[in-house]
């Protein structure tokens, strides 16, 4: 940037500040259009095949958004008149929940039996308060044996019961509808909680998951942002050793975030919790720009320069490296647009805008505001680099050992990468501080499986679901799934037909099987349909033209790989035992999230490779050296690989947010390399130093700056680990690890590598 322009800026600080405030205000105002998303589907692109499969399923049957209320009496006694009445009343009241379509519980369960040759269809428990102990015992035995209820709406051990509300949101304004429903249910539950202090109530389900997203966002904003501001202030105060520089930088940091969120928000946007990590990242990255500029500025003042002169000089030295690192960082974040999951496009684009805004503010606004703030005498701290001298001596002395040792370490860590398992679990997205998590875990422990998969089994034509052969195959399929160890409950229409057949034959157990005649099955079904009351029809199990039925599988909390493995076994069973038209794959939110990381990784690879080419090309141009451009690939790529190797040792579960860490960190990691290599290159080309001397020079000139920016970046990303939303926490931790490892590689591996690969030419010179 021309000195004239900086000169103008420092002479007219008020004008620059005024213009900046206008720009920040106008763009930042758009942030008010941002709303919090309450829809898990936001994580999926429209053409995601697993989303489409699930939407198709929901079009065919009733929607399956739900809230499951678990009722767990402390003494484990569900079958008492009081608890049964509670369930009965609560079920009845649940019909009034906004957008509820259906309420299923043990009490309103439509129990069928035969009486004087008639089919009686009636709620299992009605007016429970009036039942005598024998009647309750009789009905308890029925409930604990019924395949629809046991392990689903009543725990196998009979110590907990559930009420399942099917919710059908109009979806016009989901961000409002979800809290409306959840608020209503919570108020209702609180009322029962108060009246029954010895009973615990827990809530889970798809709608509760949806509600947990904005709730996690709010928790993020109220915990992360204050901590981040504190961290920034502390970091700045210690790196800049003064209040005024801290204040100026803090302004740049906040303005960058405001511009980014504001510009993103202008068109109106609903964001998922992971996007809320964007301001934290922008603040972190903006600090680094300012530190570089202010350090040079203070060094100038320390040398006795006038304020304006010192700033003009600082901008002259720093403009190119800060621009270069901002651009590469922006490119890194833009790779997030290759993600299969749209919220990461938002994250990448916001940070990209923020990084560029931070650059502009750092070179235009920061110089201006610094002119208005008192400059201070600066201690020698800014030019002290004895520690770096020691470090560079150490690296040079032990270069062979370091080269071998680091190579060994890198290879070992890279070899560990494949040990990571891909795993996404909407329950574990939230930590235990979010009530949804603890409630869901309690339900998994006491009542039923909290993950589910649906299989819509086609019968090959209209009305064909009454075909005995079809029903028998469905029944065998349900039995097969039921026998799988991770499965807690299976609901299948074949169970209904078996029970009806028994009822129609005077409740003879021998007839508890699929009717053996198609007309009979069809007419039983008709009779049953005509006997069901309001809201409890069979459309949740049988589609409109009766050409398919739905098998619903509820599973324990298992990993994505286990879900996919179970689905493979189910599909294989169908291939082996069912006609072709019955073939299908599992569809559900669980299924969608189980596949999302694998899909995302394959879509991200293209983006990261493209960015790597682009960035390497930029380095190659900047350094004017093909050799160094190629060598730079090592420190740019290796840190993320090492990070995932470490991750395999300590965690081993890679979810959606980790699959984009490579994109997030690539552009940041590159900065260290650029700084180090450019100084090395300059020493060799301009100062005609040997490779060894050039390494020393690089350490001396950028060692401190790299260490302090790495410290700032790691601290900033570590703030994210406080998030109750695992995508943010994991992304923050992994990014911090990767950025930290990048410094290790740049200090302990890159120099020995340079001394080894860049040897001959230097010695000749």
């Amino acid at each position: 940037m021309s000195e004239k322009l900086t000169g103008f800026l420092v002479r007219h600080p008020w004008l620059v500040i005024f213009m900046t405030l206008i720009i920040v205000a106008v763009s930042g105002y758009g942030a008010k259009n941002i709303s919090l998303n309450a829809d898990y589907r936001a994580f999926f692109s429209h053409d995601n095949p697993h989303l489409q499969a699930f939407e198709d399923l929901q079009d065919q049957y009733n929607k399956v958004d739900n809230i499951l209320i678990a009722i767990v009496p402390d003494d484990g006694q569900v079958f008492t008149p009081r608890i049964l009445t509670l369930i009965e009343n609560m079920s009845e009241e649940s019909w009034l929940v906004p957008y509820s379509r259906r309420v299923d519980s043990m009490t309103n369960f439509q129990y069928t039996f035969s009486e004087e040759d008639d089919l009686i269809v009636a709620p299992l428990f009605e007016d429970a308060a009036s039942l005598n102990p024998e009647e309750i015992e009789h009905k308890k035995a029925i409930a604990l044996k019924d395949p629809v209820l046991a392990g689903n709406l009543i725990a196998f051990d009979g110590k907990a019961a559930g009420i399942n509300l099917t919710i059908n949101l109009p979806g016009i304004e989901q961000a409002k509808e979800v809290p409306e429903v959840v608020g209503y249910v919570r108020t209702m539950v609180a009322k029962y909680e108060k009246a029954n202090p010895d009973v615990s109530f827990y809530l889970t389900g798809v709608t509760m998951t949806n509600a947990a997203f904005p709730e996690a966002s709010k928790a993020d904003m109220s915990t992360l942002y204050p901590v981040m501001i504190l961290v920034i202030l502390v970091l700045l105060f210690f790196s800049l050793k003064g209040m005024w520089g801290t204040l100026a930088t803090f302004t740049v940091v906040i303005f960058s975030s405001a511009i980014a969120m504001g510009l993103f928000g202008w068109p109106g946007a609903a964001i998922t919790p992971n996007v809320l990590s964007a301001p934290i990242m922008i603040m972190t990255l903006a600090i680094a720009d300012c530190i570089h500029i202010l350090m040079s500025y203070y060094q100038g003042i320390g040398r006795g320069l006038h304020k304006q002169k010192a700033m003009i000089e600082s901008i002259r030295i720093n403009f190119q490296p800060v621009l270069l690192t901002s651009v590469t960082t922006a490119i890194g974040f833009l790779t997030l647009n290759f993600s299969d999951s749209p919220p990461f496009h938002d994250l990448g684009n916001i940070v990209c805008i923020g990084v560029l805004a931070a650059f502009v503010l750092a070179v235009f606004f920061l110089p201006a505001i610094m002119m208005l703030l008192p400059s201070k005498k600066v201690s020698s701290a800014f030019s002290e680099n004895t520690k770096m001298q020691k470090l560079s001596d150490f690296v040079i002395r032990f270069r062979t050992r370091l080269l071998v040792g680091m190579s060994g370490l890198i290879i070992v860590l890279l070899a560990l990468v494949p040990l990571n398992d891909l795993n996404d679990n909407t329950i574990e997205y939230f930590d235990w501080s979010i009530k949804f998590r603890s409630d869901t875990e309690a339900i998994a422990e006491h009542l039923t499986g909290v993950m589910s998969v649906n299989y819509s089994l086609s019968a090959g034509g209209e009305m064909n679901v009454a075909d005995p052969e079809y029903l028998n195959t469905v029944d065998a399929f349900a039995e097969f799934i039921r026998s799988q160890p991770e499965v807690r409950h299976v609901s299948s229409f074949s169970d209904v037909m078996k029970r009806l057949n028994k009822n129609m034959n005077a409740d003879d157990e021998a007839y508890y099987r699929v009717p053996d005649n198609r007309e009979l099955a069809s007419q039983y079904m008709l009779l049953y349909e005509l006997s069901l009351p309001y809201g409890l029809d069979i459309t949740n199990q049988v589609n409109t033209d009766k050409s398919a039925t739905r098998v619903v599988v509820q599973m324990d909390k298992i990993t994505s790989n286990e879900v996919i493995a179970l689905d493979h076994r189910a599909v294989q069973w169908l291939k082996d035992n069912a006609p072709d038209y019955m073939l299908t794959e599992g569809a559900s939110t669980t299924m969608m999230f189980s596949h999302i990381t694998a899909r995302n990784i394959s879509s991200m690879i293209g983006g990261v490779v493209a960015a790597l080419f682009l960035i390497s090309f930029i380095i190659l141009i900047a350094l004017k050296s093909v050799r160094l451009g190629l060598i730079s690939l090592v420190p740019n790529l290796v840190p993320a690989g090492m990070g995932f190797g470490l991750w395999a040792i300590f965690d081993g579960q890679v979810g959606l947010s980790l699959s984009v860490v490579m994109g997030v960190t690539l552009g940041i990691v590159v900065d260290d390399t650029i700084h180090f290599l450019s100084k090395y290159n300059r020493a060799k080309r301009e100062l005609n130093l040997s490779s060894q001397e050039a390494v020393e020079y690089a350490f001396k000139t950028v060692g401190v700056a790299l260490s302090s920016t790495t410290l700032v970046l790691c601290a900033g990303f570590m703030v994210l680990t406080l998030s109750p939303f695992s995508m943010n926490a994991e992304m923050g931790l992994m990014s911090a690890i990767t950025i930290g490892l990048a410094l290790v590689v740049d200090f302990f591996f890159l120099p020995p590598l340079l001394l080894w690969l860049d040897k001959d030419k230097t010695n000749v010179q």
Partner: protein, 260 residues
């Protein structure tokens, strides 16, 4: 009962027609509508039911319905015979409508060769998987609701009364219905159904009304749209016939097996 109500109403109107409450006016409209369909004796009609799901996929079934007007204090009787789908051909359903207590229903299953009584509270559930509940298509007795006149409104160029009906049966699936009745012929041209949450569940539009025997108006097409699921059902009526000489004994449990 009807006569008492009618005369009571006439007296009330005579005394203070200017001071009629909305409830009185609502009841008056209902009674007038009922009166205009009185005396049809018996009827026969062919019915095609088309179920349409959210994505527009259709499936249909054919039925015939025979009706017998109730005499004295009794409600109407109806006999519904299923012609398709093939698996359910010959299934017949007999309904005795009652003015106050729940209707009685029996179903004959040819595959089982037996008649089964249907639970009396079923009438709020979907009728054979359609968007119609049985209570929507069964005979509308005046006593089944309480009424409240809301306003006048024009629907498709027809001047209509808008009346709110509140079901008296606790097993009804609705908290209320809002009915548009045309002033000229007292035909229900549109009905909105509100669910237990008091939110709009379905809308029924009845169209192509035709007059039979110079007196009785019947729609040729009824379309029920469920706003919450996006599904809809069309009922297409064909070949209406009145006074065809159906006998009481064709509407008994025993006659079900022979229903053709």
């Amino acid at each position: 009962m009807k006569k008492i109500l009618t005369s009571a109403l006439l007296v009330a109107m005579a005394v203070s027609s200017w001071a009629q409450t909305p409830e009185e006016k609502g009841l008056e409209i209902a009674i007038e509508g009922d009166k205009r369909s009185e005396g049809y004796g018996d009827s026969k009609v062919k019915l095609k039911m088309v179920l349409i799901d959210k994505k527009g996929r259709q499936s249909s079934r054919d039925m015939r319905v025979k009706g017998l007007e109730g005499k004295g204090g009794e409600g109407d009787k109806s006999l519904m015979i299923f012609d398709t789908p093939k698996d359910q051909k010959g299934v017949a359903m007999l309904t005795f409508t009652h003015k106050v207590k729940s209707d009685d229903q029996w179903l004959f299953l040819p595959a089982l060769k037996r008649v089964k009584k249907i639970s009396s509270r079923n009438k709020s559930g979907p009728f054979v998987g359609s968007e119609f509940a049985f209570e929507d298509i069964s005979s509308q007795e005046v006593e089944k609701y309480t009424y409240k006149y809301l306003r006048d409104e024009t629907v498709n160029g027809m001047d209509c009364f808008v009346v709110e009906n509140i079901p008296t049966d606790k097993y009804s699936g609705y908290t209320k219905q809002v009915v548009w009745i045309d002033k000229a012929e007292y035909r229900a041209v549109k009905i909105e159904y509100y669910d237990r949450k008091k939110s709009l569940l379905k809308t029924l539009v009845s169209q192509d009304y035709k007059q039979y025997l110079g007196k009785y108006w019947r729609p040729s097409l009824m379309v029920m749209t469920n706003h919450q699921t996006g599904k809809s059902t069309r009922l297409v009526y064909e070949d209406y016939a009145f006074n065809v000489g159906l006998k009481e004994k064709a509407f008994t449990k025993n006659s079900l097996k022979r229903a053709r």
